[in-house]
C-alpha cells in the first residue's frame, strides 16, 4: 500500500468481483481460515476512488519540508504520501543513515517515536518505518515524518539508526525479534520480549499463524 502506483493494476485482474464480493463480505466471516485471501480483491476496486482525493492538494508546509529534503538528496527520496501533518518518504537502505542524519541536524526531527516493521510476503520484502518527531521545533510538534525503507525478506539486513537516534534502541531490538530484521551495527540484536526458549520464526511474519486461525 505504500506504492500507490501498483494498486490500480490489481482491480483489472478481478473486474467481475466487486458486486458479488460485497454481498459475500459479511458471510465470509464464518470461514475465517480462508478469509485472508478472498476479501482482498473485493476491496481493491473501492481503492480506485479515494486516491485521487488525496493527491490534489498536498498541504503547503509539508510540501515545503519534502522539497527541502529532495533538494539535498534528489531522486533517491521517494515520496509515498504527503498529508496534513503526516509525511512518508521512502529511501534505499544504504541511504538511510545519511538521510536520517540530515533530518536530525538540519530539520530538527530530534527523536524517533516508534519503529514499525511490516512484512509483505507478496513483494518478498519487509518494510521498516521510523516515525520521527520533533520536540525542539514548535511548528513541527504536530508532524510525524515516516522514514521508511525496504529490505529483502529472505535475508533482511538494515543499517541501524542507533547512532543517529538513541531512541530507536529498544524499538529496533523489538523489530529484530518480531520480524527478524538484523540491524547491522546495533549492539544487541537479541531476545527482548519473547520467552528465552522461543524457537519459532519471528511472530510478526505473515507466515507465522497463530493458534486456530
Amino acid at each position: 500500500m505504500s506504492d500507490n502506483k501498483e494498486e490500480p493494476k490489481k482491480p483489472a485482474a478481478a473486474p467481475t468481483k466487486p458486486s458479488t464480493a460485497k454481498t459475500t463480505a459479511p458471510a465470509a466471516k464464518p470461514t475465517t481460515p480462508a478469509a485472508a485471501k478472498p476479501p482482498a480483491p473485493a476491496a481493491k476496486p473501492a481503492a480506485a476512488a479515494p486516491p485521487p482525493k488525496k493527491e490534489p492538494e498536498p498541504p503547503a508546509f509539508e510540501k515545503g519540508l519534502v522539497d527541502e529534503i529532495k533538494k539535498k538528496f534528489g531522486d533517491s527520496i521517494k515520496t509515498v504520501f504527503i498529508r496534513p501533518r503526516r509525511i512518508k518518504i521512502q529511501v534505499e537502505p544504504h541511504d538511510i543513515t545519511e538521510v536520517a542524519t540530515f533530518l536530525r541536524d538540519s530539520m530538527g526531527l530530534d527523536h524517533a517515536e516508534s519503529v514499525t516493521g511490516t512484512d509483505y510476503p507478496k513483494d518478498g520484502q519487509i518494510e521498516v518505518t521510523y516515525h520521527l518527531g520533533s520536540y525542539s521545533r514548535e511548528d513541527l510538534g504536530a508532524h510525524v515524518l515516516s522514514l521508511t525503507t525496504r529490505t529483502n525478506r529472505d535475508d533482511p539486513k538494515l543499517p541501524t539508526l542507533i547512532n543517529v537516534y538513541k531512541s530507536v534502541e529498544y524499538h529496533e531490538r523489538e523489530t529484530f525479534e518480531m520480524l527478524g530484521v538484523y540491524f547491522e551495527g546495533h549492539p544487541r540484536n537479541e531476545r527482548f520480549l519473547l520467552p528465552e526458549d522461543w524457537a519459532d520464526i519471528p511472530p510478526l511474519r505473515k507466515d507465522f499463524r497463530i493458534k486456530g486461525r
Partner: protein, 386 residues
C-alpha cells in the same frame, strides 16, 4: 561435624585459594522482579558496587501477549476489547487513538457531542490512571496513606465512568465513529460535584505527600534527566514534561475538540524524580479544569455516534494517530489492505519509550533510590510489553 582444620584441609585439597577481591568479584548482580515488591510485571538486572548501581538491563516481556499479531486476525470492531487490555485503568485513552486511526482509514466523521463525551471519558480516565499510579508510588516509598487515599478517590471516578460506560475499568467505550452510548441523566451534576470534591482533596494530597520532607528528600535531585537527554532518548508524557519540554499532544496536535479547550501544558524544569512525580499531579489539577470546560461547552443534544457499516473497511492505506494518555503520547500505526481486518497494527506506547530512560537514570544512583526512580518514569509494564 567437621572441624575447622578439616575444612581447611578440604579446601586445600580442592585447590581453593584465598584470592584478593577483584573488580568483578566486588560487583554483585541483583535480579529485580518479577516477584519483587518494587517491580510489578517486570524484571531488570542490576549490578551494584557497594550501594551504587553501576549497570542496569531491563528485561520486559512478562506480559507480552502478542496484541499486534492478534489484531491482524480480528476486524476493526472486534479489536477494541483486547486492545484496551494493556492499560485497563486507562482504557478510554488507549482506544481513543485506535478509534481516531480507524476513523481516518475508513473515513468517518464523529458527531460533535460524541467528540465531547469522548474527551470527558478520556479526562476522567486520566484521573483514574494517575490516581492508581500515585497510589503505587506511595506504597513503593512506604507511604501507606498515599496508597489508601488515591485508591479511595479513584473509586469515585470509577463510579462516574461506570455510570457513563457500564463497566468498571474495561469500558470499550470509544469505538470508530464515536462512543457507544450517550451520557446518563444527571451525569453533568454528578461530575461537577465530584470534580469539586476532588480539587479539595488534591490540596490535601499536596500537604501529606508532596510537601512531606521525607518524600522530598527521597526524590529531589534523584535521577536527573536533563532536557537534552530527554529529547535524545525520546521519552514521552510526564517524564518529558518534567525535564522542561512543554510537549503535550493535546496542545501540539489537538485531536477532536481539544483545540476549543483552554488549558496550560504543565511542566517543570528540574527533571528529577520529584518533578516526574509532580507533573502527573499537576496534570490531574489541569484535567479538572478541562472536565469543567468540556461539560460547559458540550452541545446539549445530538448524535453521539456516526452510522457505521457492520464490517467497516476503508481503502488501502495507513494512518498514524496519537493521543495524550496518562503515560504520554500513545500512537497507533494501522496499515490496512482494504479488508475489514487491519494488515498491521503497531501500538506505540509511552511506557516502552520511557523504559529506555531507566538504565540511563539508574546507573550512578544508590540502590535505595531505585523504586523512586523506577516508578516515577510512569511506566506500566503491561502496556510496554503489549
Amino acid at each position: 561435624m567437621t572441624s575447622l582444620d578439616e575444612k581447611f584441609e578440604e579446601s586445600k585439597r580442592l585447590g581453593l585459594q584465598i584470592v584478593k577481591e577483584s573488580e568483578e568479584d566486588r560487583l554483585m548482580t541483583l535480579s529485580v522482579g518479577p516477584q519483587h515488591p518494587g517491580s510489578g510485571h517486570f524484571r531488570f538486572t542490576i549490578k551494584v558496587d557497594g550501594d551504587y548501581i553501576v549497570y542496569c538491563d531491563p528485561d520486559p516481556g512478562y506480559v507480552h501477549r502478542g496484541e499486534e499479531k492478534m489484531s491482524e486476525y480480528r476486524n476493526f470492531i472486534q479489536n477494541i476489547p483486547h486492545l484496551e487490555r494493556p492499560v485497563i485503568h486507562d482504557s478510554t485513552n488507549i482506544t481513543y487513538s485506535y478509534s481516531l486511526a480507524v476513523e481516518e482509514l475508513v473515513g468517518i466523521e464523529v458527531p460533535r457531542r460524541g467528540q465531547y463525551i469522548r474527551a470527558i471519558a478520556s479526562e476522567l480516565n486520566r484521573q483514574v490512571y494517575t490516581l492508581y499510579w500515585l497510589a503505587i508510588y506511595g506504597i513503593f516509598l512506604g507511604h501507606s496513606t498515599m496508597f489508601m487515599w488515591p485508591t479511595g478517590d479513584r473509586e469515585l471516578f470509577i463510579d462516574l465512568l461506570e455510570a457513563l460506560t457500564g463497566a468498571r475499568v474495561t469500558h470499550a467505550f470509544n469505538i470508530p465513529g464515536g462512543v457507544r452510548n450517550d451520557m446518563p441523566d444527571g451525569f453533568k451534576d454528578r461530575c461537577l460535584r465530584q470534580v469539586k470534591y476532588f480539587e479539595k482533596r488534591l490540596k490535601e494530597y499536596e500537604d501529606i505527600f508532596y510537601n512531606m520532607p521525607l518524600f522530598r528528600q527521597r526524590t529531589e535531585g534523584v535521577g536527573v534527566l536533563t532536557k537534552e537527554d530527554a529529547i535524545k532518548l525520546g521519552v514521552a508524557g510526564s517524564v518529558l514534561r518534567a525535564s522542561g519540554v512543554p510537549y503535550d499532544i493535546r496542545k501540539a496536535e489537538p485531536y477532536d475538540i481539544y483545540n476549543e479547550i483552554d488549558f496550560k501544558v504543565q511542566y517543570m524544569k528540574t527533571g528529577d524524580s520529584f518533578a516526574r512525580s509532580y507533573v502527573p499531579f499537576l496534570d490531574m489539577k489541569e484535567s479538572c479544569n478541562i472536565i469543567r470546560q468540556l461539560l460547559d461547552k458540550m452541545p446539549q443534544s445530538g448524535e453521539v455516534r456516526a452510522k457505521l457499516q457492520p464490517n467497516p473497511k476503508g481503502p488501502p492505506g495507513e494512518a498514524y494517530r496519537r493521543v495524550e494518555s496518562g503515560r504520554g503520547a500513545l500512537g497507533y500505526h494501522i496499515i490496512s489492505d482494504g479488508t475489514p481486518k487491519p494488515y498491521r497494527v503497531k501500538i506505540s506506547v509511552g511506557s516502552f519509550r520511557n523504559m529506555l530512560a531507566l538504565p540511563f537514570l539508574l546507573v550512578g544512583q544508590k540502590l535505595a533510590d531505585m523504586p523512586s526512580v523506577y516508578w516515577s518514569l510512569n511506566y506500566w509494564p503491561v502496556e510496554a510489553d503489549r
